[in-house]
Every structure is written in C-alpha cells, then in structure tokens.
C-alpha cells in the first residue's frame, strides 16, 4: 500500500454535503464558513500519510469573521457597479469596475493569500504535530507587488517568473514540525510549458490542454522538496501523472456533475483529491517517526484574520 493517499470515494461526504449546502442556501450563504470547515475536515481526515490521517482544527466560527469581511467587499463591488449602471452612469460604472479590480489585485489578493495561508497551515495537524506558515505580510506584499508590476508591464510574459517567485516564498515558509519545504521551480521552465501550450493548443484542437495540465502538475510537484535540517537531508517529491489520466479525471468529473445535476459533487471532490494526493510520491528514505513539534506557540498567535479563500491546493 502506498504511503500517501486519499482514503475516500466521496460517499461519506454525500449526506453532510447536501445538508450543509441546503443550510448555506437557506441562510443566504451566511452558513458557508461552517460548511467549508466540514468540507476541509472531510478532506484532511481522508488524507493518509503512513497510516495516520491529517486533521483540520479550524472552525466555522473562526472563519465567519473573515468571511463577513469578504462578503462586504463583494457586496460593495457588485452594489457599486449595479447602482452606477442603474443611474445610467455607464462610463463611471466601467471605471469603477476597473479601479476596484486594480486595487483588488494589488492590495487585497496578497492580503487574502497571506491570511489564508497563515490560518490554514496553523490549523493543519498530523499525529498532533502542527504545520505553520511563517511568511511575513510585508515581505510577501512587496514581493507580490514588485513581480506583479513586472507582469503587468510585460503584458503577462513575466507571469511564469512571478508565479515561481510567489510559490518559492510560500513553500519556503511552510513548516511541518521541525521540517520545512522548498520550491526549486524556475520561471524559464514554467515559461516553456506556456509556450508549448500556445503553440500546440490550436494544432491539437484543444486536446493539448490535458498535457498542459499534466506539465503544470508535474512541474509544481517535482520541484517541491522537504528539508530536514537536523539530519541535513533533503527529500524530493515526485509525480508521474499522464495526460491521459488527466483527461479521464476531467471528463468523468464533468459527466458526474452533469448527470447528477450537481449532486455528485462529493464524488468529484473525492476524485480530485485522490488524483492530487495519490499522484504525489514521497521518497522511501523519508521517515515520519521523528518529526519534532515546533509550532505550538505559533498556533495560538493566529486568529486575527481567519480568511479561507484558498482553493484545495494542498502544497
């Protein structure tokens, strides 16, 4: 049996999913943080490493405050736009849209990413050992704005380097007990993936998308390293996903969603997680028995902004 896998097919989440979805709808989505907490618990508890499951310790209540802030922002955004449209100030409405979005991209997104990471990792546990994210908002913000600016003035050509810088910073500040992580991906390699995509997507009538997704998945996984400073060892993660398996995943997920009118979401979620987790291979010489607790005091410091906008992306 594999050391690292996702244990469920989706069926245990089916009932909680329906009930929580209904509650979210009836509460005009105010219940959503609680739903999210249960979903994350479901995901984490089914990720198994060396026979032990992960834990998500966050609660809906903690996430609620951050969620309200986000909701206010969204209401302001749509409300402002719609009011201006209704008053026939179409030009102002469009300007409002652009300005709001520009400000959002520059300021709000790095902030949300930062607080999301901090919260999520502080609430992640395995065998009682806490994870943690030790990035600093100011550093991350500067990095994001600087490289974001380059991306903007190069009309997006710089994006692969931007993405790699961000990933490097984030991954480099994730702690798992005394272990930490490292990201080694190079912007130029990521750039090549994009160039190939642009060249081949039309020739292959779009079918190249699956190979593109595979390349991205492998790029991020194969460039992620676990570092154990006490032993002086580094362990490289690997993945060998094929384009065909991506095709199978996406097509079947699509069919499930269509034919169940969305009620098959738990199975789609489980299939996605299984794909993600089962395809990440951990080297055999990496042992998990002696990871030392280092992040305990860290855990309590969080809670300022429990925003959880992050997607399911685990690493």
């Amino acid at each position: 049996m594999s050391r690292f896998y996702f244990a469920d097919t989706g069926s245990t989440y089916a009932l909680p999913f329906i009930l929580n979805r209904i509650l979210t709808i009836l509460s005009l989505s105010l219940y959503y943080p609680w739903e999210r907490a249960i979903q994350l618990k479901y995901i984490y508890n089914n990720i198994i490493l060396d026979g032990s499951h992960f834990d998500f310790l966050g609660t809906g209540k903690e996430m609620f405050y951050g969620y309200i802030k986000l909701l206010v922002l969204i209401i302001l955004f749509y409300g402002g736009f719609l009011v201006l449209m209704a008053l026939d100030f179409t030009l102002y409405a469009i300007m409002f849209l652009y300005i709001f979005m520009a400000i959002g991209f520059i300021f709000a997104i790095p902030f949300f990413i930062h607080s999301g990471l901090k919260y999520r990792w502080a609430k992640t546990q395995w065998r009682g050992i806490n994870f943690g994210y030790r990035g600093e908002l100011k550093e991350f913000f500067n990095l994001y704005v600087k490289h974001g600016f380059f991306t903007l003035i190069t009309l997006g050509i710089y994006y692969p380097w931007f993405r790699c810088q961000i990933q490097k910073y984030i991954t480099g500040h994730i702690k798992f007990g005394h272990l930490h992580f490292e990201f080694r991906g190079k912007g130029e390699d990521y750039f090549v993936i994009y160039i190939k995509f642009i060249l081949l997507i039309y020739i292959t009538l779009g079918l190249y998308i699956f190979r593109f997704w595979r390349n991205i998945f492998n790029f991020f996984t194969n460039n992620t390293i676990i570092v154990d400073n006490e032993k002086g060892e580094k362990y490289k993660l690997t993945s060998n996903v094929t384009a065909w398996s991506f095709f199978e995943l996406k097509v079947i997920n699509f069919l499930i969603l269509i034919f169940t009118l969305g009620l098959g979401f738990p199975w789609v979620l489980a299939r996605n997680m299984k794909f993600l987790i089962d395809n990440i291979e951990i080297p055999d010489n990496f042992t998990t028995d002696h990871i030392r607790q280092t992040e305990t005091d860290y855990n309590n410091a969080v809670g300022e902004d429990a925003i959880d906008m992050l997607d399911i992306g685990f690493i």
């Binding site: 499951h53 749509y78 009682g128 002696h290 030392r292």
Partner: protein, 360 residues
C-alpha cells in the same frame, strides 16, 4: 480495556497504547522505544473528547501542555465508554438511529420546502415584482430594446402614423401610452415590447382579408402589454436562474445573467397560458369596445393558412404558440353566440386599413 494509538505531542512517533479507565483516572500503558512498557496516568478532568466522523476515530486529548492524545477506533472506544463519566461519552450508541431518522426527516422537509419555493413561491414573487415594477423603468427598458431593434425593423413613419390613428380610434388604450409601428418586414408577424410598443409587420397586414383582423391583432398585442407578459416571463426566468446559481454558489453568474437577459428580452417567447390569455382577453376587449370579436378568429384563420401544416404531434406539443386550431376553438366556444353591437366607426377603420394594405 481498549487499544489505541498514543501521540505525545512532542514528536510524531506513534505508540501502541492500552487504556484502562478507573475512578477519576485513565490508566495508559504504552511501550517505549526499547519495547518496555511505560505507565501513564491521566486525570479525567484534563481530558477532552472528540469524535471524528470522517476518520471514524475517537480522540481523547489531554489538555495539559504539551497536548497529548490517544486515538481509538470507534468500536474500541464504545467497549469502555460505560466506565467513563458522562461528559466523556458519545451519544452514538443510544441516539444513532434516532439521529439518522431526524436527519432524514429534516432533510426531506427542507428539500420539500426548496421544491415548493422553487415551483410555487419563486414564480409568485417574480409575478409580484413584475406587476409592481415601476412603469417608468418598464418604459425605459422597452425603449432601449426598441431602439436596438429599430434599424432591423425598417419602420415606415407615414404608415406608422396611420396605424397609430387606427389604434387610437379603437380606444383599447385608455392611458394613451402605447405607440404603434408599421414595419416593412415580410414576416407574417406582430409583436409587443414592454413599456408600450406594438410593431405590426407589412407581411401580416398584406395577408389580412379585412380590417377586423387588424383590430384583433392589436387587441391581442395590447393585452400582452397591459398584462406585462414580457416582464413576467423575464422575472420568472431571472428568479429561477438566481435560485440555481445560489445552489451552485455562483455569484458571478448572476451579474452575467442580468446583463445577458436585458438583451434577450426581444427573443423571449410567451407561455401558452399567456397567449391564450391575450386571445381571450383581447376578444373580450373587442366586444367591450363594440367591435366584432370574429376579427380575432379570422386573424387565426389567416395565420393558419400561412403556416406550413405541421402534422407531427411532437412539434405540435413543443410549439409555444398554442396550436391555431385550438386557439380558434377556444375563441369560438366563448364568442360564437355573442350578439354584437357594432361600433359605428367601421368605415373609418376600413379606409385606414385599405390605405395601409394597398398603398405601395
């Protein structure tokens, strides 16, 4: 005695543990790295219990730092839970079945409620909104739709003027807000735009046999406007989109739909009930104003003679306009025996009609 796994909160090493509850204490036996047994003793007051439904494990956590924990399979835990104080027990064994029933009943109720709101309450509120929608906004909406279509319609202003005279003479519209247009389009068609615009195509007028049919078609379209059929359809489809995107949590979709739909107003089709309503109420309006409702029936006959005969039952069922024969039947049932007091102005209508029809 029950078997579980012990984690000391300092490292990730996993120890096999045997736990043994007694009064006030929890005795734990683990084996140390050299395989020798080690005895631990937890005060029950320090322990918190949590059942993890997805991992199907019971977690007993000792709150004193560093937080230590024992994880047990559910069945293992249930075998010792009677020996623990009440606050460290799970309600599962006794309540399990009742919980499932309650859960089922609540979900059923909620699903039923949702279905009810989707099919009954939502259309009701949509209808209310459509009816109470401010007239000025409706006018504005209609005007923008009309303006966007105007270039395709090829409006003849002189004939539109005549048509307006014809319409005003009918006296259907007491508020005198409705504008009527003559379009030089060959489709055998006429339509109403919310806010008070009626467009009649040249193709339709030329295929008519007499002025009564024109009275009929104007009555029909006027009812669509008066009863705000377009708005009602719009709000109905909007509200169901809204409900669906709420279910899938897609807030972005809503805005897109709002924008998209204001354009789609022109391609909206009325429901069968609305068409029937426009027929019947239109004919009633004609009678009320002293015109021969036979015009409405003759209009249907004209339309019928210009419609390719569709024999296929499936098509008949799918068509939005109720089958013309059916519409004629409906009308005849109500009005064939009605005595008519004819409006005296029929000569004027006749001459305007002939003018519209023949003057090329």
């Amino acid at each position: 005695m029950a078997k579980g796994k012990y984690f000391d909160g300092l490292t990730s090493s996993e120890h096999e543990a045997t736990i043994n509850p007694s009064l006030q204490r929890l005795g734990i036996i683990i084996s140390d790295p050299y395989g020798r047994p080690k005895f631990l003793d937890w005060d029950l007051e320090d322990i918190e219990i949590e059942y993890n439904e997805f991992a199907k494990r019971v977690k007993l956590e000792n709150k004193t730092e560093p937080r230590k924990r024992i994880e047990l399979e559910l069945s293992e835990f249930l075998s010792i839970q009677d020996q623990l104080p009440k606050n460290l027990r799970l309600g599962i064994r006794s309540n399990g079945l009742r919980k499932i029933w309650l859960f089922g009943a609540i979900s059923l109720f909620i699903i039923g409620f949702l279905i009810f709101s989707y099919f009954v309450m939502l259309p009701y509120f949509a209808e209310k909104v459509a009816i109470n929608f401010p007239q000025s906004y409706e006018r504005k909406l209609g005007l923008s739709v009309f303006e966007s279509m105007e270039s395709d319609l090829d409006i003849d202003s002189t004939k539109s003027h005549d048509l307006q005279l014809f319409f005003n003479g009918l006296g259907y519209d007491e508020s005198k807000n409705v504008q009527v247009f003559y379009s030089k389009t060959n489709d055998i068609n006429a339509f109403a735009i919310p806010g008070g615009f009626i467009v009649v195509n040249e193709g339709l007028i030329n295929s008519m046999n007499n002025y009564k049919e024109l009275q009929g078609v104007l009555a029909h379209e006027f009812i669509h406007i008066k009863h705000r059929h377009s708005l009602r359809i719009l709000f109905r489809s909007l509200s169901s989109y809204l409900a669906i995107s709420l279910v899938f949590g897609d807030i972005n979709g809503i805005l897109a739909i709002l924008i998209q739909n204001s354009n789609e107003l022109r391609s909206l089709s009325y429901s069968r009930t609305m068409e029937t309503e426009a027929d019947i109420n239109g004919a009633e309006l004609m009678v009320e104003k002293g015109f021969d409702p036979q015009g409405m029936i003759e209009l249907m006959e004209t339309l019928k003679s210009h419609t390719p005969n569709i024999e296929n039952e499936v098509f008949k069922y799918l068509a939005t306009h109720p089958d013309l024969d059916l519409r004629i039947n409906n009308l005849e049932k109500v009005y064939s025996n009605q005595a008519k007091t004819l409006n005296a102005d029929s000569l004027i209508f006749k001459s305007i009609f002939l003018n519209l029809k023949n003057d090329r």
